[in-house]
């Protein structure tokens, strides 16, 4: 006994290495260390060595940890993809630090070369690791359970039962065990031998179950590749655009009609379906005064008239959490605001502009900021910067504020600038920003002229006799208050990404694979019968392949079940001896 012990230092290894064992990188805890296999100093040898390193457990692990660390800066610094305004702000706040951080891609961490390098290496490692394992597993799926070890008693989970009986009973006992194991979902193989060390004939069945464990593991890792590939490829075919639509106005899904659009590299110009959306109305509710969260706005809902590409029309709506599907795109509600209708006339009374102007909300009570640009028709170019307060209140400081998000006491204040709008040289300028660098302020704080203040329906003179400006009242006929005097707008996001369901499918596949890989126990079981003059000796043993906390209980169950089956066939005469 002691001599064979030195051949196999670990008794657990008995019956462990078999064709049906899953293949593992050489530094896996279950594999036999073969570091002796030093590479020859040729190029091929080194390449092979490098590949083996890359596809080892250790490198995969280290790459995973590096990936985790590398993702951290993106949560500390604002990212262009998630928070572009934050990046602009950061630049203003830290003008010296910004260029250094930017050159390290700290504001585009997840698109940076170094971040990409880490995950690409990880996935190369992953693919290199699983391909041989898939091949191996396909073979293992057809392999026979391994030969019954000579000394089952060496295994940790081992039971022995002595029974009366003949050689014939021994053979029958194994027949019964074979059926029993098969019924339990094991794959079985018989290993009966004629003679075993002078102890008479030996019958045994070898059984294995839990191939799903490895299948699940491979499924999980393959699905991760699937997620990465679909995300990567899908991005090339996706587009996302933003469009502001004012009540009563329409949007047609063409490149020209977007305020901004991001297209994947494979999206052709004619990829967009020319459906049209008209904003019929916008619903919003406010929490009542005196209740917790008073004034909080919610239940946003944009009611749209949809004209499909084929010309058919229908009603549709967009809510937060409930995007609208149209033409293969999804339409989301990103924001909303007020668009006071403003008319500007010059000294001759010619209308230079008359339209709803989108104002950007600045706080939760919808104090909003907007800009009007008059490039032509005046002696010099004219710019207006306006504040709109839906429920205006005058603060002690003399400044205005809004007390509520709904339109109750609407007020529009306008500062007037004259000069060069800076749009003639073709530089793109945001419609929401007035560059006052080359302009003189004619009215508003810091000048002799007070800023213009208007309620719906009122008209005021522009300074220096330049003309007039009117805040149009859009209330329907017969309205008794101002609540409907100002139009609302919504900002919609239109998103097209056919890969999203695939990404989800792979993610769910990964989850399913993970469940199998972590919870399906993989184990081997053996039942062996040895006949002698004293009767038959039944041995049961189990061997875990991977984490298997319930193995001991499973062996006990097997023994009990087997005994019951044998007793049903022939009444038992002796008490079992538990042991080893």
């Amino acid at each position: 006994m002691s001599s064979s012990r030195s051949e196999r230092p670990e008794p657990q290894n008995e019956g462990a290495s078999a064709a049906s064992d899953p293949l593992r990188p050489s530094d896996h805890i279950d594999s036999i260390d073969d570091e002796i296999n030093q590479p020859r100093l040729g190029l091929v040898g080194w390449l092979r060595w490098g590949w083996r390193q890359l596809t080892s457990m250790r490198v995969a692990l280290v790459l995973l940890l590096i990936l985790a660390i590398a993702a951290i800066p993106g949560s500390i610094f604002p990212q262009r993809m998630a928070d572009p305004n934050g990046v602009v702000q950061y630049r203003t706040d830290n003008p010296d630090l910004f260029p250094i951080l930017d050159s390290l891609s700290m504001f585009d961490v997840y698109l940076s070369p170094w971040f990409s390098a880490i995950y690409l290496l990880l996935f190369v490692s992953l693919i290199g690791c699983i391909i041989p394992r898939i091949k191996h597993h396909l073979k293992a799926l057809r392999a026979q359970p391994p030969r019954t070890p000579a000394r089952l008693a060496r295994l940790d989970d081992h039971r022995t039962v002595e029974r009366e009986g003949s050689e014939q009973d021994a053979a029958q006992a194994i027949d019964v065990a074979e059926k029993q194991l098969k019924a339990l979902g094991y794959r079985v193989a018989r290993y009966d031998s004629a003679e075993s060390r002078g102890r008479g004939r030996v019958w045994s069945v070898s059984a294995e179950r839990g191939y799903w464990r490895e299948t699940g593991n491979l499924l999980f890792h393959i699905a991760l590749v699937g997620v990465l590939v679909t995300v990567g490829v899908g991005g090339g075919f996706a587009y996302t655009g933003q469009k502001v639509v004012i009540e009563g106005k329409s949007f047609v899904n063409t490149l020209l009609d977007y305020n901004s659009i991001n297209r994947g590299r494979f999206v052709p110009d004619d990829a967009l379906q020319p459906y049209a959306l008209t904003l019929d109305s916008f619903d919003i509710t406010y929490e009542e005064f005196g209740k917790p969260g008073a004034g909080q706005a919610g239940n946003f809902k944009a009611n749209l008239d949809v004209r499909e590409t084929d010309g058919s029309t229908r009603k549709g709506s967009v809510e937060v959490n409930h995007p609208l599907s149209v033409g293969g795109d999804k339409v989301y509600l990103l924001g909303n605001g007020y668009a006071p209708t403003i008319t500007v006339r010059n000294a001759e009374g010619t209308v230079l502009l008359s339209q709803p102007v989108e104002f950007l909300p600045q706080d939760s009570s919808m104090s909003s900021l907007g800009v009007v640009k008059i490039p032509d028709g005046m002696p010099e170019q004219l710019g207006l910067i306006g504040f709109f307060y839906p429920t205006a209140v005058k603060l002690d400081t003399g400044a205005f504020a809004s007390a509520h998000g709904a339109v109750n006491i609407p007020l529009l204040t306008l500062d007037v600038y004259q000069g060069d709008l800076g749009i003639d040289d073709g530089t793109p300028r945001s419609v929401y920003v007035l560059d006052t660098e080359d302009m003189t302020k004619l009215a508003g704080r810091g000048t002799d002229v007070e800023s213009i203040q208007l309620q719906p329906g009122e008209t005021a003179d522009l300074p220096n006799g330049l003309g007039t400006v009117t805040f149009e009242d859009e209330s329907p006929a017969g309205a008794t208050d101002f609540t409907e005097s100002v139009k609302r707008y919504v900002s919609l996001q239109i998103h097209h990404d056919e890969s999203a369901p695939w990404v989800l499918a792979f993610a769910l596949l990964a989850l399913a694979g993970l469940g199998l890989a972590l919870f399906v126990p993989r184990r081997r079981m053996w039942v062996k019968a040895t006949a002698s003059d004293d009767g038959i000796r039944l041995e049961y043993a189990g061997l875990a392949r991977g984490e298997d906390p319930t193995l001991a209980a499973a062996v006990d169950d097997l023994v009990r079940g087997h005994e019951r089956l044998l007793d049903d066939a022939a009444p038992r005469r002796e008490n079992p001896v538990k042991g080893a």
Partner: protein, 325 residues
């Protein structure tokens, strides 16, 4: 409406007080175990000495917890009883908060803390019916007292209606599963800490050190059993975390128009996921099982707490649902 919420607050502080009592009982239990060990090991030494005279030279000393004179840990029982009682109050606080709000009670940081700790204690108590983990009682009750106390004192917000993005079934699913996952990972963390202490003690015992470390450790399972237990909690927690990640992405697709955008909270959820994937790998990598993998489990849970406490309060992003301003 307000009165229900007031009742909830009252129940919560009562629960905290009872948990604090449980903590004290458990702490005394650990201290008592130290002296119990003294008596038991005195007996065990004789046994081992007698055994070594025989043939079986490589027999390992019998672990104290398996000796016939198994201590009955009366204080631990008191601790557990108090924990159950505290949990009932805690459950009452959570339910009344939910009724007060007319929705699931996990929609702001205060409520996340309440439901998260409720699940931590629940998982602990459920597991107790099958495995004796009372040596973690001090840790569990201590953690819960700190988190709940901090939440009740600093994160409390009155019930307000939900903001639009939170009006979704995914609020129920995603946040609940995340909390459950956190509870499991917390247990894994505690076991990993015990594992490290036990490993150190075992090494020092092997070296024959006079003071191998806190004596209560002798009444705990050995390091490798602690490690296996920690691993089991961690993998279940990891699966739930994976689900949380996927469910969050589905929700983000509906609410924000994209399934993934590296928002701060998304980023940290991803970092945690990768850390635990690393931990699971480490367990299967030669040279990483044992102490290094335990450190990964600890790091992973530190990131969970960071994600919960620091990211929610101090980082700005789309997930600004702490309700604090």
């Amino acid at each position: 409406m307000t009165s229900l919420d007031d009742l909830s607050i009252l129940l919560l502080w009562t629960a905290i007080a009872i948990y604090a009592g449980a903590f004290i009982a458990y702490a005394f239990d650990l201290a008592r175990r130290s002296s119990a060990v003294e008596e038991v090991t005195a007996g065990a030494k004789v046994l081992v000495a007698a055994g070594s005279a025989g043939a079986d030279a490589d027999a390992t000393p019998v672990p104290a917890s398996e000796t016939p004179a198994k201590p009955r840990f009366v204080l631990a029982r008191i601790g557990t009883a108090l924990t159950v009682l505290g949990w009932l109050f805690h459950l009452g606080a959570t339910l009344t908060r939910g009724f007060a709000a007319g929705r699931v009670p996990w929609a702001n940081l205060y409520e996340f803390a309440m439901i998260g700790t409720l699940l931590i204690v629940l998982v602990y108590l459920v597991v107790l019916t099958r495995i004796d983990l009372r040596y973690l009682g001090t840790f569990i009750t201590g953690l819960v007292v700190v988190l709940l106390g901090a939440a009740a004192a600093n994160f409390y917000v009155i019930v307000t209606p939900l903001v639009d993005p939170l009006k979704s079934v995914w609020l129920i699913i995603h946040v609940f599963v995340a909390s459950l996952s956190t509870a499991l990972l917390a247990l894994a963390f505690a076991l990993s800490v015990m594992q490290l202490l036990q490993t150190r003690r075992e090494r020092r015992v092997a070296e024959g050190a006079a003071k191998p470390g806190p004596r209560f450790l002798a009444t705990l399972p050995d390091a490798s059993r602690l490690e296996n237990l920690a691993y089991r909690f961690a993998v279940v927690g990891f699966i739930f975390w994976t689900f949380t990640l996927i469910a969050g992405a589905i929700w983000a697709q509906d609410a924000w128009g994209r399934y993934w955008g590296f928002d701060v909270k998304e980023t940290w959820t991803f970092i945690i996921w990768v850390l635990y994937a690393g931990y699971i790998h480490a367990r299967a990598t030669r040279g990483w099982r044992g102490t290094p993998s335990a450190w990964l489990s600890i790091t992973g849970f530190a990131a969970v707490i960071f994600n919960f406490a620091i990211v929610n309060v101090f980082f700005k992003g789309l997930h600004a649902y702490s309700g604090l301003s």
